[in-house]
Each structure stands twice: as structure tokens, then as C-alpha cells.
Symmetry: C2
Subunit: 369 residues, 2 copies
């Protein structure tokens, strides 16, 4: 509740101007805390705040002055390398379309790809709860191996720790990847490089991963119709960068969904982003599940699609290059970058109205990846 | 109990030869299981078996045909890179001499150093239990930052996941490092390169890390006298490799202690290793604590010392180079590599007898790193 809502302020009589619906903010849930909340792991506003208030003050920004990216880029003796790490805590461990092992490989390969890097090597670290079935560990390790082989990268090192019963939930997997930045592909894509006039491309339908995991976890029964989209995207990125260097931003909209990814870009670039709801591909079963559960598909995690912000004159070429790959065969143009309303993402809805697409404050779907 | 011990076998009358005490094995505890045991994370025999039976069949060995090393070595366009990962689950998170943050940085820097590589970049991934104090997270992240700065390496990327209360125990940290193999330092040190006649060097006293953590965890009261030895060892390694390329093996004896590290080397190289108990530096308080608790200091984890197996003609030079560094000022010669009893580590005790130094089967001190 805001101060204004609590009562009239005596002495202030001039009629207030009509509020701009796009500038309004709703009262937000309380987010200040001395303890870590589930929402701090959401990929949304609380995550960003934890990063800004606890992590970055200690460790410094990954790129001084720059926004956090999915992967860091280093130059070692003139060689452009990328490095990224992710812990996976998905529950349940097995879901339609994959398991925690496939997710760990694809998530890391994709984070490298988002800075234009092809994977060179992966590491996998397990934290296992005592009593975990060896058979499940074998199955998940097999998934890691198959996913790595399919992506053309080797798992070169790893670690295994075991904690007592009740000190972890089954298995957590942390994967780290190093990659080689594609030489000659122009500047490394980055969240701060979106410019007014740029075009927003999406490689395929959204919402499948989050809904698939949620469905099997909560026993909702959608799992026959929806499988996770988890897949490696580096070949799609190579095809894009091979066609045009005018790819300004690449993001895989995982935790926090397409909404969080685009909000981060709008903030980092100081631009507005305008989407067309009619152009965003949401599979029927995902839409039905979201309606039933009160979720916004724009907030649901994906593990096999990417959003690209590209120069307008290269957009058609890049869309054609994306559509020529299996991962990008459903690629579409979903919106554009504007100068107005910097830091804001808006959506032109099916009925012609406009609404703000906000970043989630906390956690909509915990442990989805 | 063996079959022979259960009763006399009628019809077998020839007197058995006296058993060779160094060839004898005690009945081992049952280790076959369908579920993960705490001991699978010990760094001992069960860990090795999990690696050999579950992980390697799926992922393949890190170096085809070779033993597992602390870090993988890759060649990228002629550049020698190393990569290593470790999850840290130490309990408690804070202990005399350090915390989980310092440990994560030093453990990773040291694993790189053991293949002769200097750290280029680190990543840090947190899995946090809901309700964890933000103040503790700030303190640990500060430790990560200070340890990284002191080691001269940057934390370039990271990840934060949060799981519900009861789904993790406070905080787990996974750190991954990439390093540059020192150019011109000769062949990369490796566990299979020990040769009969080689000399075994140890950089300093053993047992402090494990006993420091155990003491504060169990409230044993040794913590006033014993602090963890956690420290980075890459500068010590650079000093050694700068003096002589004849460093055949380097290991930091963490989980499983000096005993496990040397057993791994003896097995991988197909040699015997003979130690002199009188030469192995065990601080008084560590010795007292081990006697009280029934622990063998050779099995207790270290985080700030290394064991080196070096060519005999270079041993004195290398010892001098080690002693000229702060990390190696207590370096000593503790034994030698022999052709007899391949795969076995033996100890000449203070009273002149010989005993086998075995690798632990399971877990002596869980969650020590």
C-alpha cells in the first residue's frame, strides 16, 4: 500500500493528472529480508537484487560497468574464450523430454552460445544425498554423456560429493563450460547492445520446459502433451553469426522466461521493447496449462529457444538462416526495439491494448532448472 | 571373516607358509550397494569404485587410458589449458583458518597447480537453502573475493540457485577454474609418472584442515590450537617447475589425506612407495587429536600442502626451491618410490617395523571439504 492510497493529503488540492498506465506500478510484495528467500533464485527482480547487493559488491562486475551476461568472455594470448557455470536443482530429476543431466549440458552449452562461443569442454560436479539410487545416478550420467556427445563437446573433468540424508534433495548438478568465441563473427553479442529500430527474433515456441517440469512435479496430467524443449543451441547461433555479424543481443530465456530476458536487455541497453502478442508462439497445451494455473507463458522457463535482437536490415536474412536449422525452424519476428519508455517491455495484446511485461519479483516456479 | 578362519578344511594337511604381513588384507566392510553411501564421497576406495563403475563407463576417462587427475589438460590452438571443478559441502561453513569460500578458491587453484597450471579465471556457483542468512552469504562471498585476489585470479562468472528449507544444508559452493599450463616446464605432472628411485617430497605438516573442521563441528575444543592450512599453492608449484622440469607427480592430499593420494599414485604408476614415519611432519595438537579420536593423520584431509614425486638427482634442488617459498618453508623428504610391491604404500614406523598404508574404504570424516 502506498502513502497516497492511505488517505487524502490536506492542503494538496490540485487535481492529479490521469495516470499513465504504462508508468504505473502495483504495490509490490515485501522483498527486503535478512534471509535468503526462494525468490532469490528465481532469475527475477530478487535475484537481480541479490546479485547487485551481495555478490557484485564483493566480487565486482563480470565486465566492469557492464551488465551480467550468461557467460564471461576472456582473451588469453589473443584467443577469445568464454566461461559459464550453472547449478541445476530441478525437481523432479526426470521429466518429459529430458532429465537433470541433459539440462546441465544444454544449459551450459547454450550460455556459451549466447556470447557467440562454441563449446570446447565441460565439467560436471555432483552433490548427492546419501541413499540416492545408483541406478538413477547411472541413468543421469548416461544422459550427460549422450547430450555432450550430441553437442560435440567432451566432459573433461568432474567431482562427486556426498552429504547425509536430509542434507540435500537427491542430486544437484553443477556444470561449467569453456568455449571459443567464434572468430570473425563481429562484436560479442551483449545485453547492452540493443538499439532503437532493432528487430526482436524468437527461435521457437515458449513455455514448454517450465510446464513440463511443473506438470510431472505436481501431477497435473499435462505431461502427455508437453515435453521440455531442452536442446543445444550453439549450431543455431553459428548459423546466425555465419550469416550476419549484426546480431546485437542473444539470450536463452530460461529462469524468469522471455519476460525477464527482455527486461534485462531493455534495462541494460536503456531502450524500450515492444512485442506483438499475436506473433509469440505459445503451444496450445502450454496456453491451456497456463490459463488453468494462472501463469503467464512469458514468465515460464525455456531450455531450447533463444531470443535475438538484430539490426533491422539483417533481420530477414537472419530469420531465413534460423529457419534453415532444426532448432530454429519455428523462428519468428516478435517485436522491435524502441527509443520510448527506456527499460520497459510492453506487449500489444490480441485485443489491441498495451500492457507492461514485468520481470517477476520473486519465484513463480521454484526448482524448474 | 574369511572362509579359512571359519574352520579346518579336512584333507588339507600341508602346513601353510607364514603369511607375508605386507600382502595380507583385513576383511573389508561390505561395500556393494544399490544406493549412494556417505563413503562414496570420501575420496577413498568407494569413491574410486563409483568413478570406475558409474561415471567413467558413461563419460569415458578424462585421459583415455590414464588415471583421473585433479585437473584436465586441453590444447586449444597450441595453448595448454587446464580445467578443474569441485563442489564444497564442508560443515560447518566457518572454521578456524577459513570458510567454505576460501576453501572453494584454494581447492580450485590448487587442483590447477597440480597439473602445473596457473589460474586464469574462476567461476563460483551457489546452491543456497531458503532461510540462509544474507549476512553469512555476504561474509562467504567476501572470503571468495579476498582469496581470489590474494591468488591473483578473477571470479569471472557465477550462478545462484535457491532450494526450499530442508532441501539443502545451508550452502553448497561449486568452483571451477581454468588455468594456463606453464610453458616450458616440461611434461605435465601426472599420477602415472612415478618411477622407482624417485623421491617423495611433502611441502609441510599434515592433518590440520581435517582436524580443525572436525573440532569445531563436534565441539572437541582443539580449535584454539589447530587452524586449517587452506592456502593457494600455485606459486610454490611455479617455483618448483621453474627450478627443475623433473617433477613427475604433484598432488594436494585433500579428501582421503596423504594415504589416498599416495595410493592413487602407486596404483597409477605401478610402483611401490615407502615412507619414513619419523620424517612426516604431524603437528603436536593434530597428533594428540588423532590419538584421542582414533584417526590416522595420514587419512586426514589437507588444503594447503602438496606431495611431489621427483627425480632423485633433482630432489635437493627442488627441496631448496620449496623451502624458499612461504607455502613450502616446512618442506621435507618423506620417502621414496620402489619397484617392489607395486600399488602398495608402506610406512617404516618409529619403532622400525613396516606397515601398509591403505586407502580408506569409506568415509572417515564426512563433509570436510
Amino acid at each position: 500500500m502506498t502513502a497516497r492510497a492511505r488517505g487524502a493529503r490536506p492542503g494538496v488540492r490540485a487535481p492529479a493528472p490521469l495516470p499513465d498506465p504504462l508508468a504505473a506500478t502495483c504495490p509490490a510484495p515485501r522483498t527486503e529480508t535478512e534471509h535468503v528467500l526462494l525468490g532469490h533464485g528465481s532469475g527475477g527482480q530478487l535475484s537481480a537484487r541479490l546479485l547487485a547487493e551481495v555478490i557484485v559488491p564483493a566480487l565486482g562486475p563480470a565486465r566492469p560497468g557492464g551488465p551480467p551476461e550468461d557467460a564471461a568472455v576472456l582473451s588469453v594470448e589473443g584467443l577469445g574464450l568464454a566461461m559459464t557455470t550453472d547449478s541445476f536443482v530441478v525437481s523432479p530429476l526426470f521429466f518429459p523430454g529430458g532429465d537433470i543431466g541433459t539440462l546441465a549440458v544444454h544449459g551450459t552449452v547454450n550460455d556459451l552460445a549466447m556470447v557467440g562461443a562454441m563449446p570446447l569442454a565441460l565439467s560436471i560436479a555432483y552433490v548427492i544425498e546419501e541413499g540416492f539410487a545408483i541406478g538413477d545416478l547411472r541413468r543421469i550420467t548416461g544422459s550427460v554423456a549422450r547430450a555432450a556427445q550430441a553437442a560435440g563437446v567432451a566432459v573433461v573433468t568432474g567431482d562427486t560429493k556426498v552429504v547425509g540424508r536430509g542434507s540435500a534433495d537427491g542430486l544437484f548438478v553443477t556444470s561449467t563450460g569453456i568455449g571459443r568465441v567464434l572468430p570473425g563473427a563481429g562484436a560479442v553479442p551483449g545485453a547492452s547492445r540493443a538499439r532503437p529500430g532493432d528487430v526482436v527474433l524468437l527461435s521457437g515456441p515458449i513455455g514448454q520446459h517450465g510446464i513440463a517440469v511443473l506438470s510431472v512435479r505436481e501431477g497435473l496430467g499435462f505431461e502427455a502433451d508437453i515435453a521440455s524443449d531442452t536442446r543445444p543451441l550453439h549450431r543455431l547461433v553459428a548459423a546466425m553469426l555465419g550469416r550476419s555479424p549484426e546480431v546485437h543481443v542473444l539470450r536463452d530465456p530460461t529462469r524468469g522466461g522471455l519476460a525477464s530476458a527482455l527486461n534485462e536487455i531493455a534495462l541494460a541497453s536503456g531502450v524500450g521493447i515492444e512485442l506483438e502478442e499475436a506473433r509469440i508462439p505459445v503451444p496450445g497445451p502450454v496456453e491451456a496449462a497456463c490459463e488453468l494455473l494462472g501463469l503467464d507463458p512469458l514468465h515460464v522457463a525455456n531450455e531450447g529457444c533463444l531470443v535475438a535482437i538484430v539490426a533491422p536490415h539483417a533481420a530477414d536474412d537472419l530469420l531465413a538462416a534460423m529457419r534453415a536449422t532444426p532448432e530454429g525452424c519455428g523462428a519468428v519476428r516478435i517485436g522491435e526495439v524502441i527509443a520510448a519508455r527506456p527499460g520497459r517491455v510492453t506487449l500489444r495484446t490480441l485485443v489491441g491494448s498495451q500492457r507492461i511485461v514485468d520481470m517477476l519479483v520473486g519465484e513463480q516456479l521454484p526448482r524448474i532448472c
